[in-house]
Symmetry: C2
Subunit: 519 residues, 2 copies
């Protein structure tokens, strides 16, 4: 076990972040690749994190008036065809169902030629078209608006180069879809959701993000405005952690989503859509993981406190176990971060030292180790996963049992805050400004552009631009692409101060944008 | 609205149960058919019921030591082929993915011939094979056992004749999969889960069921024993509401799921699988619905108490609304059935009488109506959905506000109990016994066998049999099939008393079984 850990430590460093990431996912037992190319198996520890994310985000989605529904997995090809005609930049990598039966013939199982579907079905890559179709039936009058729907579902977008949690053909997500009577209300919805995502990322995932608007070439196909939250990973790259789209009346026009307004006129709705996915888990790993493995923010840790009894096959084991059970009971009656504390007593039949390192690698926020001496002294010995080491040495703390129980909630809150502060310091300290022209930007990022996977840490740049459009924007994009850079977003709430010149066009800048390498 | 309701009442009666069912689903706004043949759209009220079922069953699954995971939607055809060779009675109606890209060619969008998959993928009809494959990698030693896994997922089994919630090509379910060191432990798991399902059905769904073992010809393909819980619908038919399978070492042998036992020998695991689905919602409708629509057991009602303010566009409206808001607040701080009471204040901009009937049809357990007189008197006027009418007349109750708030939890418990008792009386009073031979059974059910959909109410029969096997069982099955009857299960916990003769074979009976028409 120590070996696995040291392997992990050696393979870390900014020098090989991708390998470090894979190692953490594996060593924390979160997920694995599956025999189905491009799909992953999410194991209990990884899925437990998703359940925490889902439960808490779902609460916020419902509190803000949205109802959950479930729409079909399959979408008729004709729906997709309609959208494809309607939308530029339409993505075509989709799983297509063409048969509804298998047949054994000559000892070989194959799709039955007689069970070919008249119309192929597409496995949903997103549900705008099928939900829009339902909206067109459900919405008749202004009394039916706003219609605020959310769905938790699996979606499929074929991927050749996959990475667990970050890019897989099948992934889990929530997708919100709403219809409104006018542009103002729909735009407010798109921005309220963006704010919900920002607050959720920062408060629950302990992940500081920058909320802003995507440039026009990065909009969701069919969207009038696309907004995102962007998080900085420990290799300096950006991860788009959530998006919210104001779709204008584009989808409503294509799908005939109309309502009778108070004056009796038939009017197209303004719609929005928005989503976050299991990708968030990839972000949590890359924001909070360290040389010893994963560190999970307590708010989403499936187990916040894990108790490891130090058993030695001796008579005093019974006392140690009894003490641990009583401690586990006491802790699970306490609250942290507005929820009951999630405690686990690890009674698995393996060595205590192995258990310790299992939980370190899995990132449990507090790991308690109880031996006969703790029992004798009425103490609790524990490690904080956020401050595991003092130099190279693992730090252990001891505390009277009563005080530990009473303080556990505060301790977990403190860990949550500390993980957030650490990440915020990294984000705020690594957005470089002051670039006067494109060459300066290229010079700053250029040296690290050779290899996407092992670049030196550069962070992001915040630069003024004149918001070029169309072909001019394409040109900017091409220049950035050569440096493996992308425009992340134009942060919201910019001051109206003079910004100088656009570093791309030389014209007067109207806005600042974030530039970064990205996942 | 009154019209829709009376339509519903007229279309009810045992005379047209199928139509009544469809009307309830539609009028309660639970689900609808989708443009994708065989798939349904689960609307907020229907999905809200599923969320309650899911949350509470998930709690029980976790408490009994199972961890949730997520496995891929797609299963390689080779996995299915292996199972098909291995298993008799293998079902072949599956959705098959053959392409991973669409291509626009000549203005027509179609599967791209160049993106044909080397190996077709099957959309999971159930996950035994893909989970078994993972188990074969995860399990090495006796220390890894038992392995207790559950997954909440969508599955697809192609259906031509669909009925919302009862039979659709895509449905939602949970599937448990476990591996054990020996037969005894695996069998205990299968039976513990059956008992969990039984208790859940009775306590949470207020649906009495009979737990028992399926005859050999009704076993899950590959299972050694299949157990089910069976519920009686108001048309007398049986609905299989959950199944639990002991799979022996069949799947372990086929998939190489082996462990090193304490003696160091490589040994196949004994496995189980078990599941319940959105079909449960269909059962709830058919057990509890009445001439006015759905009646939802409070334990799974998305809203347990709905408050309808009687507004008349008059100045006193503000007082009514204020009173309702305060009442809603007070109620949502109370508990019922070990949970916070779920209250909704319905402020939608439609007529109060329409709101009342909307909630009656949707089956909200308690519907409160507040007018100016209630405000003046400090009263709450309410209807119990389980006892809506006295004869033809709708029954309304009035109570001082404080008493209503204090009693709300008890009232909801009482409704839960009453719905269960009503259904239990129906089940217990309609299992006919005492058949001496097959002709008597045929005579009893025969008259009603002409039309599957509009048969007279007959209930079930409990008959002694000698447990014939193989061809003899096939013959029994054929004889029953002519009467549209099926063997449901052999109830657990039968007394060892003498049972007389088997009504099919005339031999000495060893067991009693339940016979019924079924969904």
């Amino acid at each position: 076990m120590q070996r696995a850990l040291s392997t992990l430590r050696e393979s870390n460093g900014k020098s090989n972040f991708a390998e470090w990431y894979q190692t953490v996912v594996r060593e924390a037992d979160m997920a694995e690749t599956s025999p189905v190319r491009g799909s992953m198996i999410i194991k209990p520890w990884g899925y437990g994190i998703w359940e925490q994310i889902q439960r808490q985000l779902d609460g916020r989605i419902k509190e803000s008036g949205h109802d959950n529904c479930y729409f079909p997995l399959f979408i008729p090809l004709s729906f997709i065809a309609k959208e494809a005609q309607h939308v530029e930049g339409f993505a075509k990598e989709m799983a297509v169902v063409t048969h509804h039966r298998l047949k054994m013939s000559g000892g070989v199982l194959a799709p039955d030629p007689e069970a070919r579907l008249e119309e192929p079905l597409v496995v949903r890559p997103t549900s705008e078209t099928i939900i829009g179709d339902a909206f067109s039936r459900w919405i008749k009058s202004h009394r039916d608006l706003p219609l605020l729907i959310n769905q938790w579902a699996n979606v499929v977008r074929w991927e050749m180069r996959t990475r667990l949690f970050l890019r897989t053909s099948e992934f889990l997500w929530q997708e919100g879809h709403t219809a409104h009577a006018d542009a103002g209300e729909a735009m407010a919805e798109a921005l309220n959701i963006l704010e919900m995502y920002r607050d959720f990322a920062e408060t629950v995932l302990a992940t500081p993000v920058i909320a802003g608007e995507k440039p026009e070439n990065e909009r969701f196909p069919g969207a009038v405005n696309t907004y995102s939250i962007e998080a900085m990973m420990q290799d300096g790259k950006a991860l788009q952690a959530g998006t919210s789209h104001y779709l204008g009346t584009h989808f409503a026009d294509a799908q005939n989503i109309r309502f009778q307004n108070e004056a009796g006129e038939l009017t197209p709705c303004h719609t929005t859509s928005w989503g976050v996915s299991t990708r968030l888990i990839g972000g949590v790993i890359m924001v909070h993981g360290d040389d010893d493995g994963l560190r999970i923010p307590p708010a989403i840790a499936p187990r916040q406190i894990v108790i490891v009894p130090m058993l030695r096959n001796k008579p005093e084991d019974a006392d140690v176990l009894g003490y641990c059970e009583s401690l586990s009971h006491a802790l699970s009656r306490e609250t942290a971060l507005d929820d009951r504390i999630r405690v686990q007593l690890d009674t698995k039949d393996i060595k205590s030292a192995d258990k310790r390192w299992n939980w370190v690698r899995r990132g449990a926020p507090i790991i308690v180790e109880i031996g006969p001496r703790d029992v004798a002294n009425g103490n609790v010995t524990f490690m904080r996963r956020d401050q595991l080491r003092d130099g190279d040495k693992v730090q252990s703390h001891a505390m009277p049992r009563e005080r530990f129980v009473a303080d556990a909630g505060n301790l977990l809150s403190a860990i949550q805050v500390r993980l957030f502060s650490e990440a915020r310091t990294r984000l705020e300290g690594n957005i470089k400004t002051g670039f006067k022209n494109f060459d300066e930007l290229a010079g700053y990022f250029g040296g690290a552009g050779d290899d996407d996977e092992s670049g030196e840490f550069r962070g992001w740049a915040r630069v003024p631009w004149s918001r070029p459009s169309g072909a001019a924007l394409e040109e900017v994009d091409e220049r950035l692409k050569k440096l493996k850079l992308t425009i992340r977003n134009a942060p919201l709430g910019q001051s109206a101060a003079s910004l100088g010149k656009c570093i791309f066009t030389g014209q007067r800048a109207t806005q600042e944008i974030l530039i970064a390498r990205a996942y």
